[in-house]
């Protein structure tokens, strides 16, 4: 039986992943800010076969609460086999350009909060010498584009942070997985017109469970985003800067 901590557990992608682990009989502790949704997801996980599913309230932008909520989580779960961090928000890029406070808040939600949590979690995992840290970033972090560079910068910062962390924790037996989804049909992207590149959160969840099992370092999901991003990263900047992306 696996002990699993999920942060941002009400995210559509996290929820589908939780279902898969519940069906495996895992012990789940879910963190998020919407208690009604957390209760719904917990009950669902319990019916689907979780050994036990429970939740704690956490607003990731309440930095001061991080240490105490995580302490409670360690006490509840004991050994951590897997931590999945999934929270995030898709900023309105125009609004960020108009208002510094909006930009800073988005950077907090998408990067600084996660880095704060990871700093604490990394020490705990290092001490136990075991387990996997899995964090959802995004393909948007691979290159800055005018359409969403605040989000991209935050996700890119996370990816670099995770690289360093992986390097540090590898000899300690702790694995770090960076999950980079492409377009996923979730509440976050409800207003976007959908096309053939879009995936559903179930497919993303399946690939996450597999990548954790196989100790992958970076997961592009669905897989074809690895090739799309390879091309996008390799467009020379003097061309890229003229493109409308």
């Amino acid at each position: 039986m696996k002990n699993i901590l999920v942060i941002g557990a009400t995210s559509a992608i996290a929820e589908q992943t939780i279902r898969l682990y519940a069906q495996q009989g895992s012990n789940l502790l879910l963190l998020g800010r919407d208690e009604e949704k957390l209760q719904l997801i917990c009950n669902d996980a319990n019916v689907r076969g979780a050994h036990e599913a429970d939740f704690l309230r956490l607003d990731v932008n309440d930095f001061d609460s991080h240490a105490s909520v995580l302490e409670k989580a360690y006490t509840k779960l004991g050994r951590l086999d897997l931590v999945l961090i999934a929270h995030g928000s898709l900023p309105n890029q125009q609004a960020c350009q108009q208002q510094v406070s909006t930009t800073l808040r988005e950077l907090n939600t998408n990067a600084v909060s996660t880095i704060s949590l990871l700093t604490l979690l990394a020490n705990q995992m290092e001490q136990q010498g075991w387990g996997t840290l899995a964090v959802i970033t995004s393909v948007a972090g691979d290159r800055g584009r005018q359409a969403n560079y605040v989000y991209g910068a935050a996700k890119g910062m996370l990816s670099i942070f995770l690289q360093g962390l992986r390097n540090r924790l590898y000899p300690k037996g702790v694995h770090v997985l960076d999950i980079k989804p492409g377009f996923v049909d979730t509440p976050m992207t409800a207003d976007f017109p959908k096309g053939p590149l879009w995936a559903n959160p179930q497919a993303i969840a399946n690939s996450i469970v597999k990548a954790v099992e196989r100790k992958r370092n970076t997961l592009y999901t669905p897989f074809f985003w690895r090739w799309i991003m390879l091309i996008i990263r390799n467009i020379p900047e003097f061309i890229f800067k003229k493109m409308k992306l």
Partner: protein, 443 residues
């Protein structure tokens, strides 16, 4: 809330309607939308929609509210088998989780790709109707979003009229959000099947009588045979096996990617299929053990098989005749079909047990026959001929399969329609919940 406007149809691909599809992410989202749209003077017609396995226009309106995100389980009692889950949970998902733990649906239709909400709204029946009734008879409580967005619960004892109107009510009383019902324990995922061949209709009906204590029974009828072979059938009986693994079904890989040329299913191919199928079973009596998937859901193995009928679509004509009218009425209808040379690829005959007290529930004690017909220019006038025979014998048509019956036919054959309308009106549902079908039927 996510909205998309596109052409939409039921399983029969007829009729098509330009529809705005709402996909609310939560119960709260549904309530809020209803509270808002019921406050408008002029809001578009709205109806709930599950997996769209109803054949005609029951789940079609200017706006449909899809329940795909209502897919949570609330609670399960492993002692009593009582499950509470959201209305968008499909029977396929439910079986995948509960069969390995030794539980099965109390009643299941011929496809597992239906939602709990759709099963209740159509008051679906299965091969065990004669012993276990409709699905809704196993429902102990419903949670419903009313026209104004208010959320209420009802049961056979609490707001009983609302419950009786909602079970079989085709989405016309509100949006079912969640339901509580009892699963049945099983020891194996397999079914002990016995099959019998009959030479004609009288023999077929006699076989149903003789085996009325079998849990599951259904007959496949060769509707193109005539003369003294009229109504020859294969009767299949089933009981849950006591040995064999508790293994759930696998997802099917076969798919019909596009609408096939309508010519593919014609009189000759159908006749060939029916003759082969009948003669495939050489003995008059055989016994075997098979998984629940091929026993209950033989067509689920090919996704989108409805596209085999071509882009004009098809309709399923399912009627019930009271027991007393059985042999005579059925003979008249089968003769009319055989004479018309319109084959039905599948013709399924079942014996129904007693009716329940849900106002628009379809089953009544007697015999029901379901036939698939490809739509062409003369089909509907032919079906009207059949309607008259059905009405003559005091029968009726199944709403969840229907795309074309007239208001008069409906009102004559569903005597409780007025009570249904009154309950609907009492809860303000008639102003908000309307489908293409309810408008056609004058509800």
């Amino acid at each position: 809330m996510n909205t998309r406007k596109s052409m939409l149809s039921g399983w029969g691909q007829y009729p098509q309607q330009l529809t705005e599809r709402l996909t609310p992410h939560s119960k709260r989202g549904i309530s809020e939308h209803l509270a808002h749209s019921s406050s408008l003077d002029d809001s578009p017609s709205l109806i709930a929609r599950g997996l769209g396995r109803s054949y005609g226009d029951s789940a079609l309106a200017e706006q449909v509210m899809q329940t795909e995100h209502l897919n949570h389980y609330m609670a399960f009692n492993a002692d009593s088998g009582e499950l509470e889950c959201a209305a968008g949970v499909s029977f396929a998902e439910l079986l995948a989780i509960f069969v390995p733990r030794g539980w099965f649906l109390p009643v299941t239709p011929g496809t597992k790709f239906v939602t709990v909400g759709g099963a209740i709204a159509s008051d679906v029946h299965g091969k065990n109707h004669h012993v276990h009734g409709c699905f809704s008879q196993h429902v102990t409580q419903l949670t419903l979003a009313l026209a104004n967005g208010e959320v209420v619960t009802c049961s056979p004892d609490d707001k009983a009229q609302l419950f009786r109107a909602t079970c079989g009510g085709m989405g016309l009383t509100g949006v079912i959000l969640q339901a509580r019902f009892k699963l049945i324990p099983i020891e194996s995922a397999y079914i002990q099947q016995r099959s019998y061949k009959s030479a004609n209709l009288a023999e077929t009906l006699a076989l149903f009588e003789e085996h009325d204590s079998a849990t599951y029974s259904v007959a496949w009828i060769d509707c193109l045979s005539t003369g003294d072979k009229l109504g020859r059938s294969l009767l299949m009986l089933g009981e849950h096996a006591t040995d064999g693994e508790l293994q759930a079904h696998r997802d099917s890989k076969l798919n019909v990617p596009l609408n096939m040329p309508g010519l593919l299913l014609n009189r000759y191919s159908i006749q060939a299929f029916n003759t082969l199928y009948y003669h495939k079973h050489t003995q008059t009596h055989a016994q075997s053990s098979l998984h629940y998937e091929p026993f209950f859901y033989p067509l689920d193995g090919i996704r989108n098989w409805n596209r085999l009928y071509g882009k004009n679509g098809f309709t399923q004509y399912q009627f019930v005749l009271p027991k007393s009218a059985g042999l005579e009425g059925m003979t008249r209808i089968l003769k009319a079909i055989a004479e018309s040379k319109r084959g039905s690829f599948l013709a399924v005959l079942k014996a129904f047990g007693e009716a329940n007290d849900h106002y628009l529930s379809f089953p009544t004690e007697g015999y029901t026959l379901a036939l698939d017909f490809k739509i062409d220019a003369t089909l509907f006038s032919f079906l009207e001929k059949l309607d008259r025979i059905v009405l003559d014998y005091g029968g009726r048509l199944y709403l969840t399969k229907d795309a074309r019956m007239s208001e008069a036919t409906f009102k004559q054959s569903y005597p409780q329609w007025q009570t249904f309308q009154e309950v609907r009106h009492q809860y303000g549902a008639d102003r908000v919940f309307n489908s293409l079908q309810s408008q056609r039927l004058g509800l």
